[in-house]
């Protein structure tokens, strides 16, 4: 290492070679000496190995994930994920804002399915306040969440195909998502970050435009997802590239705290909607799709099954929807009782939970957010070594991380 690491940087492979490039945060080798044993081991290269930066700006890292790959030819020997490029300190921001503002701060965490990340803190606050949410509001929440789940899964299918080199399914997925997002925009006024959930209910009742769009959509629900399914389900190249890839067994998946599709693809029927029911889910009839293989293909097929179940749930919700108010009567300044509350829901990516502590003031004392993307993503280190570079993308895409939630 030279005396001033800001102006000169060690070349990526050869410590003797110097390049006249200013040091940036994007260099594969950190500009400081290794701080842990693992880091020292990772950044020591054996013969024929090299380090390569995947991200934070890379076409297929889904946001700003950065992974330093140690490769031997095309084979990935080891990898070191570097997180935090999207860190905003949401938990700390929430501690300094009152309970109503928490909703909009938590909104962008899971930005592909924002309904879920705003529903959880709301549920935690409701537990602390001992509020009973009106029945109609509960049904509307389920309706909005399941619609958002389909929108998220439609994008997942497209992304997986795009990372494997298929151009078309992503656009079919976006058509599906756009129809749903337009529908939700009619309901909430926003296309991406809805800010729709309120403590004690939802922001507004179902309106005519939403219902007419929903009716149109239900007539051909998930048509474009089915289109892309015919395009890639039986596609020889797709199947050969995903089947048996990134296989994880049941015990390891449980030990690594995987939830959602990656866990259910290993054969564990864990779904928060059934395991720890919330809202009106106990009254609805739906199955929890499970696959045994635990590989990328199983995770992909599982998403398709879940889309079908979500459509089934939406159908039931529309038939059972009661009349009534959509918000509970609450004071404008909320002061929950001192205490702790834990709320968990099943987001498209797994168990999304919030552990909230209140000291009796109008602000949360502590708000711990458990994001499933983070726990699913950590299995990349276990799944990827030994595979090829191209498989890294297929594995990461099939785990479907959202970096907003991972970096918080």
């Amino acid at each position: 290492m030279t005396a001033d690491p800001r102006t000169r940087v060690r070349s990526l492979d050869d410590p003797q070679l110097f390049v006249e490039t200013p040091a940036t945060i994007y260099d594969a080798v950190p500009p400081y000496p290794p701080s842990t044993e693992r880091e020292a081991e990772f950044y020591t290269l054996r013969d024929g190995e090299m380090l390569i930066n995947l991200g934070p700006q890379h076409p297929s890292t889904h946001g700003v994930l950065r992974v330093v790959l140690k490769i031997d030819g095309e084979r990935v020997v080891d990898l070191d994920p570097v997180l935090g490029y999207l860190h905003r300190g949401v938990e700390k921001i929430c501690e300094n804002s009152d309970w109503h503002m928490v909703v909009s701060h938590c909104d962008p965490l899971e930005y592909i399915a924002a309904m879920f990340s705003e529903l959880v803190p709301v549920m935690a606050a409701e537990q602390l306040l001992d509020v009973t949410v009106p029945r109609r509001a509960e049904y509307i929440r389920v309706l909005a969440c399941e619609l958002n789940r389909i929108a998220s899964h439609a994008l997942f299918i497209g992304w997986l195909a795009l990372d494997l080199g298929g151009l078309t399914p992503i656009l079919y997925g976006f058509i599906e998502r756009d129809e749903i997002v337009e529908m939700l925009a009619a309901l909430t006024g926003q296309r991406l970050l809805f800010n729709y959930m309120r403590i004690g209910g939802v922001n507004g009742d179902l309106n005519h435009e939403f219902m007419s769009r929903l009716g149109d959509w239900m007539g051909h629900a998930a048509r474009h997802v089915n289109d892309s399914q015919t395009l890639i389900n039986e596609n020889e190249i797709f199947v050969k590239r995903t089947r048996g890839l990134g296989r994880i067994d049941r015990e390891t998946a449980l030990r690594m705290c995987l939830t959602g599709p990656p866990l259910r693809a290993t054969g564990v029927p864990y779904d928060v909607r059934r395991a720890h029911p919330y809202g009106v889910y106990p009254e609805l009839e739906f199955e929890i799709p499970v696959r045994e293989e635990g590989d990328s293909y199983a995770r992909y097929m599982l998403h398709l099954d879940e889309i079908r179940q979500s459509i089934h749930i939406i159908d039931q919700v529309l038939h059972q929807m009661p009349d009534g108010p959509v918000t509970a009567k609450l004071p404008r300044l909320l002061r929950p009782r001192p205490g702790r509350a834990f709320a968990a829901i099943e987001s498209p990516r797994g168990q999304y939970a919030v552990y909230a502590m209140s000291d009796g003031s109008d602000q949360p004392f502590r708000l711990r957010i458990h994001d499933p993307s983070y726990f699913n993503l950590q299995s990349v280190g276990l799944l990827t070594p030994g595979h090829l570079i191209a498989d890294t993308m297929a594995i990461m895409a099939s785990l479907d991380p959202i970096m907003g939630g991972v970096d918080k």
Partner: protein, 459 residues
């Protein structure tokens, strides 16, 4: 504005733009010369007085023509790719520049000329600069031996097939140079992938053609086309079905097209060997890719689908249905009638076409109806001229068939790009060595056996 535009051009642009202008001017002059009939005497004069080799003159003219042909071809295929993939993705695609966005690919090309030409620190500058030129020139040189139509080819080499594969092998050198000199690991990975892939797939590509060569008994592409004369069942695609399939798959891999576009896989290694390139140098890679697509489709057509041969006799059909034009008609014999005809008949047709629009749509100004009539007349006239040319000249008909078949294959390649995901590098290599090469060898063996047996029986 001109000076400002000029000062915004990069060095490469300042070199290329005058070159394009000069070449365009020369083409215009050449066309004018052809029309006025002065080219033939000049060529004859050059050949006689300077005792120049006729073949050399032909080669220079052909090289110039091929260069001029390559650029519009790249634009057309680029536009096709944008539009066809958009159609398959349920998008609109380009629709702003020109009718149906037809000029957008060309405008991309001109935009790229004005972009910054960036050389990364640590790059091996001479190699980095030379690489795109080699990558672009390799497919363009392949055009020289391609028979577009009877009598319309650059050079009728008796080793054309070998020359062709040599040229497509040259392209790999450029890719490796680009990947190595960029000082970027993604580029290096892309270059190594390209090298492994193209060298592996060159073997089945060549082996699948050997069967055709055995049947045709010649290495000349012209000769191979002429060997397929007859009905369309005489095309080599029907006599060598396995060879045809192997050739098309291997050609897809050779041209770095989906599902074998590993060397520029954007979701894995960013842009492969082209990662560090920008401006016109990047444009050269793009041009090379599209020219390659055309070239490989054209070679498939020439080797297996009869080249410029018609599946049925279009000229004969036209004569049959009465659309017969006599190319030997002497316009001079019409005398003053020609002048009157040229002045009056188009006018009458234009007015005749305009009147129905004017009557059908109240409020439409007559001059607007006249414009519509004029455009319609142009379309009709162009169609009539084309029909006349097809009926009268074998070259035009051959060119038409050749282009139709070639662009059908181009569209198939684009279709595959819109539909298929990408294979993995080990699957790619395994496919070449475990399936394609044994199949190609089997095809070769069966063909050789059949040729020997048929020879023995017929002797």
């Amino acid at each position: 504005m001109l000076t400002r535009s000029w000062s915004r051009l990069t060095l490469a642009g300042k070199v290329v733009l005058p070159l394009v202008a000069v070449l365009g001017g020369l083409t215009a002059l050449l066309m004018l010369g052809v029309v006025l009939g002065i080219v033939q005497p000049i060529t004859a004069f050059l050949v006689e007085t300077l005792s120049l080799n006729g073949g050399l003159v032909r080669f220079v003219v052909a090289a110039l023509a091929v260069l001029l042909f390559a650029i519009p071809t790249a634009f057309i295929i680029g536009f096709l790719e944008l539009k066809v993939i958009a159609f398959m993705n349920l998008r609109l695609g380009p629709n702003r520049v020109g009718p149906w966005g037809a000029l957008s690919a060309a405008f991309h090309g001109f935009k790229i000329l004005a972009k910054e030409d960036f050389t990364p620190t640590g790059a091996d500058v001479p190699v980095f600069t030379l690489a795109p030129v080699i990558v672009f020139l390799a497919p363009v040189l392949g055009f020289l031996v391609l028979p577009f139509a009877p009598g319309l080819f650059g050079q009728d080499m008796n080793l054309a097939v070998l020359y062709f594969f040599a040229m497509s092998g040259l392209g790999v050198v450029g890719l490796i140079m680009a990947g190595w000199s960029s000082f970027n690991k993604y580029s290096l990975l892309g270059a190594l992938r390209a090298a492994a892939q193209i060298i592996s797939y060159e073997i089945p590509l060549t082996l699948s053609v050997v069967g055709v060569i055995m049947l045709a008994g010649t290495l000349s592409l012209n000769g191979i086309v002429l060997q397929q004369a007859g009905s369309f069942l005489d095309w080599f695609a029907f006599r060598q079905p396995l060879g045809f399939v192997i050739f098309f798959i291997a050609a897809t891999a050779e041209g770095n097209r989906t599902p074998f576009d590993l060397s520029e896989a954007d979701s894995e290694i960013v842009a492969g060997y082209a990662t560090e390139y920008s401006g016109m140098r990047f444009g050269f890679f793009y041009f090379a890719e599209y020219v390659n697509v055309f070239l490989l489709s054209a070679l498939t057509v020439v080797l297996f689908l009869g080249g410029w041969l018609a599946p049925f006799d279009l000229g004969g059909v036209l004569h049959q249905i009465g659309v017969a034009f006599d190319p030997r008609l002497d316009p001079g014999s019409l005398g003053i009638g020609l002048l009157i005809g040229l002045l009056v008949v188009p006018l009458l047709i234009i007015i005749g076409l305009a009147v129905p629009f004017w009557l059908a749509k109240p409020g439409l100004a007559f001059w607007k109806a006249l414009i519509i009539g004029f455009l319609l007349f142009n379309v009709l006239a162009a169609g009539a001229v084309l029909l006349w040319a097809v009926a009268s000249f074998e070259v035009v008909q051959g060119l038409l068939w050749f282009m139709a078949k070639t662009y059908a294959f181009v569209v198939i390649l684009v279709w595959m790009r819109a539909t298929l995901p990408r294979v993995r590098i080990d699957q790619l290599m395994g496919f070449a060595w475990k399936w394609l090469i044994p199949a190609a060898l089997l095809n070769l063996f069966v063909t050789a056996l059949a040729v020997v047996v048929v020879d023995a029986v017929t002797r």
